[in-house]
Amino acid sequence: MLGLDADRLRADLNRLLAFLFHQGILDEQYLQLQQLQDESSPNFVSEVVNIYFHESEKLLRNLRSLLMDREFSDYDKMGIHLNQFIGSSSSIGAKRVRNVCVAFRAASDQNNRAGCLRALELLEHEYCILKNKLHELFQIEQQRLLAAGVRYPMLN
């Protein structure tokens, strides 16, 4: 029984991962993260991802407050935030978020405020999706581990 559940959950996990890859929400870099997780750092992926969430939400708040300011003109500052966002997103494999950030940065480089606003909307949206999906992923993984009763190595 337990085994079956674990298998089923693993299948769910695989399917979700495959879905995310195909959707472009995640890319190979995420796999690299998984490969770095081992006995010596058993929670590496969730650690990194949680840091990423934390930082990203800060960044999004900053970006939003920058753009909401009617006298906003400091595109450089926005560029800096975006740079960090791009770096961290690409480091965990959040491909779509990263792509939107790149577009956002392009709009910012052109001092295109309307474009920035649009990009920010889309960015927040994509970030939401990513966060949801990753939470989902972690939940399934947790359930799978519980069901299996033993620790399996992460998918490889």
Binding site: R15, L16, A18, F19, F21, H22, Q23, G24, D27, Q32, L33, L36, S41, F44, E47, V48, Y52, E55, E57, L60, R61, R64, N83, Q84, I86, G87, S88, S90, S91, I92, G93, K95, R96, N99, V100, V102, A103, F104, A106, A107, A114, G115, L117, R118, A119, E121, L122, L123, E124, H125, E126, C128, I129, K131, N132, K133, H135, E136, Q139, I140
Partner: protein, 659 residues
């Protein structure tokens, strides 16, 4: 000390245990970097503050072997840190950034970085970084033998710096071997990396025309093969010239001669080489930071070794090859070498010499005076010049224009020969403003179609000063380097394709339009359906009212249903799954069925874009450009066989709708 200790380490298990200091203000990347480096079996220390990093480095200079630093940091600019580390601790520094813009990479190189990595960093890239430590060590060792004529940095390393990572390695190794074979006793030549040079604050020796002439005279007197620095020094009888200076100069000279003798065998290639020579010339200045200009004469016929003007390092050799490698190995700044003209005089045939011609800023006058003569010479070899000029445009991708001058003209006024070296039809002019021998500036402008205007040219040529910095030509040049390199970078990026721009640039560029299109598409006034957000307390997400948290596990299934339904229904769920290629936003019916099935089936359809949409209109009226984009997008036909790789899909998409 460090050298010895590291050497012993080498015997043990290097690069295992190499001590790396990682600096990045982004905690996500820092943790990832730390884990990656640990996986490579390095000994990692991390900090998120540049100031802390400096403190750690300063308190014990032997504590680390290598530093990896992010470019954009809040407390200190990454480049500043790079400079300081290079100056104070002489450690190899690798820059890290999410932004692979050519300008930035250039800046990194001019500030002395031994590498520039783009995020996301892959473990494969990190597994090789130990090479920078070894390379630097080797140079340190050599440098300790001689007092280090740091004004003549090893061209190989500088060349390498100008090229990509892989190239750097290969070329560097090749150069080293050649060097070793040739000049064992001249080993005091500091085959320095750029960083090494920048760390040594020794007075620069400027090889002026006069000086070089004396040098060559001395060498000739002694016989090229038998000339030793000590004797040359004695013969030259110049104050403040050290044996090491002469030694390194001699080394380069010999290399140049060697190369010329090779070239002499390939006369047929010379004409072709003219173009490539130019290109290499052009490239010379760019990355290698010496700010030296080499004028390569498209050597047609090379003659006696004694006369070959020297070439500072392997650059000339490369210049001769049609391959036109983007070499940036220029000797230290301020080096001026002109081959003695008299040597060229002996044959009536077309003689050309490769000549490295470096003109420090203060020699502008001399060069200018020399110009007319070169013109004369040039006319003697019209066809060459023509081909030379004609070839120019093809090589305008580099930033530094080679100073193509007539070898003899400048040095030996008496020589009436035409050892005309690939001089363009226009005389070389020195850009007074720039400190570098921007000789080609005007030349290029006239002769090269690729350059837009003169100021651009001076920008190009001014890259040399930036590269100067690399090789420790300090002081005046350095200050200029910073702004100039920005220009250079800008220009480079606009230059034709040959330039070895960081590869990442390309994808970046292509990504941008695609993403912007997507973002434009997705945005509309009402983003209420921003999708499920787990963190409802987050003000960002709370903006989007009307959306309830959906159990993540059920999302999967509901997505399938949604997609099968009308867009209006989907809207309720907060977002829409669409395939970018089809009618812009709506999901065609045949897709609908698929979506009703397991999400895994959806995968087969390629990838989708999720975006909130109001049914009907997704283009707010006030977004004019968005409208255009959207209509363009809707017109776009689908990509068949859409690749599953999202990135590629984006790019593809954007290409079609490119405005």
């Amino acid at each position: 000390m460090r050298v010895e200790r590291v050497i012993s380490d080498e015997n043990d298990s290097f690069p295992v245990g190499m001590r790396v200091l990682a600096v990045d203000d982004d905690p996500t990347c820092l943790l990832l970097l730390e884990t990656l480096l640990t996986k490579c079996k390095y000994n990692v220390t991390t900090t998120s503050q540049a100031i802390t990093a400096l403190k750690m480095l300063r308190e014990n200079k032997n504590k680390f072997d290598l530093v990896i630093s992010d470019v954009h940091m809040p407390d200190m600019d990454g480049f500043k840190l790079l400079e300081l580390v290079g100056l104070e601790m002489d450690l190899p520094v690798i820059m890290l950034s999410a932004n692979g813009d050519t300008k930035l990479v250039m800046k990194g190189i001019t500030h002395g970085a031994c590498d520039y990595l783009l995020k996301p960093v892959r473990i494969e890239e990190l597994q090789n970084i130990w090479q920078h430590v070894i390379r630097r060590k080797k140079f340190d060792r050599k440098d300790q033998d001689g007092s280090g004529s740091q004004d003549k940095p090893y061209i190989d390393s500088s060349e390498a710096a100008g090229l990509g990572n892989v190239d750097q390695n290969g070329k560097f190794n090749k150069k080293r071997k050649d060097q070793n074979e040739d000049e064992d006793e001249e080993r005091d030549e500091n085959g320095h990396d750029n960083e090494d040079l920048s760390t040594q604050k020794k007075p620069r020796v400027v090889w002026s025309v006069e000086l070089h002439r004396k040098f060559v005279a001395a060498v000739n007197q002694l016989g090229v093969e038998k000339a030793v620095p000590k004797k040359i020094l004695e013969l030259m009888n110049v104050e403040n010239l050290t044996r090491e200076n002469v030694a390194s100069h001699l080394q380069k000279f010999r290399l140049y001669l060697k190369r010329i003798s090779c070239v002499a065998n390939q006369q047929a290639n010379m004409a072709a080489a003219l173009g490539s020579v130019d290109s290499t010339h052009l490239r010379m200045g760019t990355m290698n930071g010496l700010g030296n200009f080499h004028t390569l004469a498209g050597p047609d016929q090379i003659h006696n070794a004694a006369f070959r003007s020297f070439q500072h390092s392997g650059v000339l050799r490369r210049l001769n090859t049609p391959a036109g490698v983007g070499i940036s190995g220029l000797p230290s700044s301020g080096l001026v070498q002109l081959s003695p003209v008299q040597n060229l005089g002996n044959t009536s045939t077309y003689q050309r010499k490769l000549q490295s011609f470096v003109i420090p800023g203060n020699h502008n006058a001399n060069i200018l005076q020399g110009m007319p003569m070169s013109l004369e010479f040039d006319q003697l070899q019209n066809n060459r010049a023509a081909s030379h000029v004609g070839q120019f445009p093809s090589v305008d991708n580099t930033t530094v224009l080679p100073v193509s001058s007539i070898s003899g003209s400048l040095i030996d006024a008496g020589c009436s020969n035409s050892p005309l070296l690939g001089v363009t039809s226009n005389s070389l002019l020195l850009e007074g403003s720039s400190q570098l021998p921007t000789l080609h500036a005007s030349n290029l402008r006239d002769s090269v179609s690729g350059f837009p205007n003169r100021s651009t040219l001076s920008d190009f040529t001014s890259i040399a000063p930036a590269s100067n910095q690399l090789h420790g030509s300090k002081a005046d040049i350095q200050d200029q380097a910073f702004p100039i390199s920005c220009n250079a970078g800008k220009i480079i990026s606009s230059a034709p394709q040959d330039w070895n721009a960081p590869k990442k640039d390309a994808p970046y560029q292509s990504n941008v339009p695609s993403c912007s299109i997507n973002s434009l598409r997705a945005v509309n006034g009402d983003m209420a359906q921003l999708g499920q957000c787990l963190d409802q307390n987050n003000p960002i997400f709370n903006r989007n009212v009307g959306f309830d948290f959906v159990d993540p596990l059920s999302i999967k299934c509901s997505e399938g249903e949604n997609l099968a339904m009308e867009p209006s229904v989907i809207e309720k769920e907060g977002y829409l799954m669409v395939q970018p290629s089809r009618q812009g936003i709506y999901i065609p019916d045949n897709e609908g069925e698929n979506f009703a099935m397991e999400p895994s089936v959806i995968e087969k359809e390629g990838y989708l874009i999720v975006q909130p949409r109001r049914q009907g209109s997704y283009i707010p009226g006030n977004l004019g450009s968005l409208e255009d984009l959207a209509s363009a997008m809707t017109k776009q036909d689908h990509d068949k066989g859409k690749p599953t790789d999202g990135d590629f899909g984006y790019n593809d998409y954007s290409l079609r709708t490119c405005i």
